[in-house]
Amino acid sequence: MAGLLDLRSIALAALCAALVPAIVLGRGVESPPEPEVLPVTEPGSASLASDGASAARAPRPDRAAPVASYTLTARLDETAHSVHGEGTLVWRNTSQTSTAELYLHLYLNAFENAQTLFNRSSFTRARSGRAPRRWGKITLSRLVARELGGLDLLSSLEPHTPGDPLDATDRRLPLPRPIAPGESLTLELEWEAVLPDIVERTGVARDFHFVGQWFPKVARLEADGTWAHFPFHPHAEFYADFGDYDVTLDVPDGMVVGATGRRVSESVEGGRRRLRQRADSVHDFAWTAWGAFERREARVGSVDVHLLYPPGNTLNAERTLAALRFSLPFFEARYGTYPYPDLTVVHPPVFAASAGGMEYPTLITTGGPWHQPLWSRATELVTIHELGHQWFYGLIATHEPRWPFLDEGLNSYAETLASEALFGPTSASDLAGLALSATALHRAGMLLGAHDGPLARPAAEFVDFAELGGLVYSRTALVFRTLGNVYGRDRLERAFRSYAQRFRFGHPTPDDLLQTLEEELGSDAVENARGALFEGHGVNYSVRDVRSVRRRDAVAVTPPDLAGSGGAPAAAPPGRFDSRVVVHREGELRLPVQIELTTAGGECIEYSWDGGGRDEIILHTGAHPVTAVRVDPDDAILIDESLLDNAWRAERPAPLASWDRALFAFQLLLAGLAP
């Protein structure tokens, strides 16, 4: 109503804050609608819905062949904020060549001091937004290889990341003898992990502990015998092999624990609580421990959902659960069954908010204040996004540091589909007639981010997190939304389903994705996808020129052949109008686009352009001149650099709707400012 200094505006804001939730609360937390059922649209092809339904009905089928399995015990020291761990890693060489080395990722060493790669990189706008104030690290004290004569290899472990003496997150372990393909190696491990304060979703805040990347983790050996190892960069996430995890957690009694996998036993002795978690076919293990968590147990489909949230967040928990009830079957119908019996959802307390919004296998973290207004969908959006990662990261375990678009981009695409299926155009917010969609927000993110390079590049190559966010999350999501809009959403969804099935428990590359897309969408679509993803190509359609002239004779004129610009001459009666419309394409992408012409007589003519040339000239002769042109009337091309040059009208009316709202807003401002 007025400026910040005006008390009446505060009162109004308070009233609004009281009224708006009350109005919306009247609806309560609505039961989510059923996930959208996609119709069969093409003869001979099964619909996604039927595939998904049958997949959902199928018994929990599959599991990954274990490559890196851990049996660990972890004891939390709640005062030193450290974890003492010990156990074994059984690793199997699944590549085609022998290897005489291993790489271990010791991610917590990223927080060891200010000189690590993580901390010396520009990450003022990274995921957690700041450097840790309390350092953390991981120190190995035992590294014995059973199959190598019980040799302790600790002294052989190289002290720092290859080529980077200041970083110790990526460590090479030379082996006394090569490990042959198919051969297994068991490493006995013991270590101490000191947690930093919450940074990059890991660490401690007061008495809240989120324990991620806390154990020595073997890197992934690719099929060709090369190690996919990397230091921990603030823009990057992780990459590992699947395996079976058996982890016993030892925490003070009174701590409420959430962890990857299913709890198979729990006991209390001597003031300590011991919990055993089993998780098969996963590639990471994270857990949290906090005494104040409240729990909410629910069953969604065949999955046991464990919600952990701070006191006072009951409504947030219900909203989270409602989002899960919709999105879990939604994703299952598209990308395959969620194969695990449990899903743990952690809502960190507000003082540890930067632990929120992260994905681990069978465990996700969400966030938001207890008073999150109901018109904002932030809680639901982050829940849907993180749940989507159970597929695009969890089951389809791509190399996140190398190709972040394969998990974040594809998952953001899936998130827009799910959130808009759930909420429609109000998937991001819905306040007093101002409805924003997740797609519109991603487009805003795309426009705000720089666009001068490919989307498909390593996380560390992005100049900051804003650029990564704009390109990897938002632009990638819109590239795929555009491909779906232009070449068929059902076809694209079938391609994604095929990709998700083919690479379930796999480690696909961008080429695998493109190949799958090509099978469903064809080469033109993939050429555009490749250009958008790998070359940084873009497109901007615009109405360049429109002219209409009245014919003065009755002889040949340009035909009303709207299938192309070069038809045979045809006769036209006098008094008719010749109209010439030029639509221009800038950028390298050649996306087919619809064009709509409207004449003064109200006739609406639709025209398809394959986007092949730079300009498309449309000639129209009719009783009335063309008075309006609209390129891409359905807003299919969401990566169009500017939507505002996609239309033309002969007469432009005054912007009355804007006048109305602006006048109202400024009148209220004046009322508030009034002395």
């Binding site: 008390l7 009162a11 204040p369 101002l434 924003l436 426009l447 939507l643 009208r649 006048l663 002395p675």
Partner: protein, 305 residues
Amino acid sequence: MSPVPNVFASSPQRARVLAAIGVTYLTRLLVAAIASYPLIASIDASGIGQFDASDGKLFEPGGLYLLEVLLHERDEWIALVAPTAVLLVAGSLAGVAPERLLLRALAGAPGATESSPRAVECSAGRALPRLVLLALATWVARALLVFATVALASTARSYFASARDERLPSIAASVAVLVGLCGGVLLSVVRDRAAIEITLAGATPLDAIERALGLLRRRGLGLVARFTGWTLAGFAAVLAGAFAASAFDVSTRRGAAMMAAAVLHQLAIVAQIALRTTWLSSAIAATSPPGEPRATERAQADAFL
């Protein structure tokens, strides 16, 4: 507590008050139109007017084009913030003239006159600068109050920061904001009474504030209750107008819907002004008890003249 005077006691009186309300509304409308013109011109220049729904497209569900225009025009809009703010402040200061007119019209109501017509007429030349001075002083006081409220809220929040129930810090901060709002109410009541003293009794700003504070001490509860009631009613009118107008879909540029939304918005503004007028009328009527203070005020006013 003084009864609320009947501001529509006679037809000429009613006409004067309605005219003053009209002038207040039109002044605000004019200033708002001038202040919003660059913004509207920017929206128009963005190209949104080329679409079939014209700028109604900005209000399409999903907000795709709203964000599109916002992002394309953001540099221009950022550049507009400072001049628009100056214009609004100046326009707000100019608002003291119609307010004086309104107060004088209200003072004509039976039981509402505080000073002699001669005093009012003769002080007219000095009243406007004094009202402007009062406005400036009010803004400074509000700024200090907001600062104090924010500091108090922040302290209250941090005091409960270690509470496990996340609602406690928010509730503590809300209580602090409530205290600040109470201060704001008192400030507004004092300000409005001081404006009445300046306009109707020809008082200087300091004297006017002193008298207003004196009246607040003696009859504070009633004044605060009435101010709060009428002001909340004004807020309710504005909210009702905003929500009712939002029910009309203007995104497809349907003329009737757009007109209805605009009418509802403007009705809400008029209602808010009318409700404030009722409060001012009530504040004018809230004179001191018969006897010494009133006589003193009259004497001071006459002496001033």
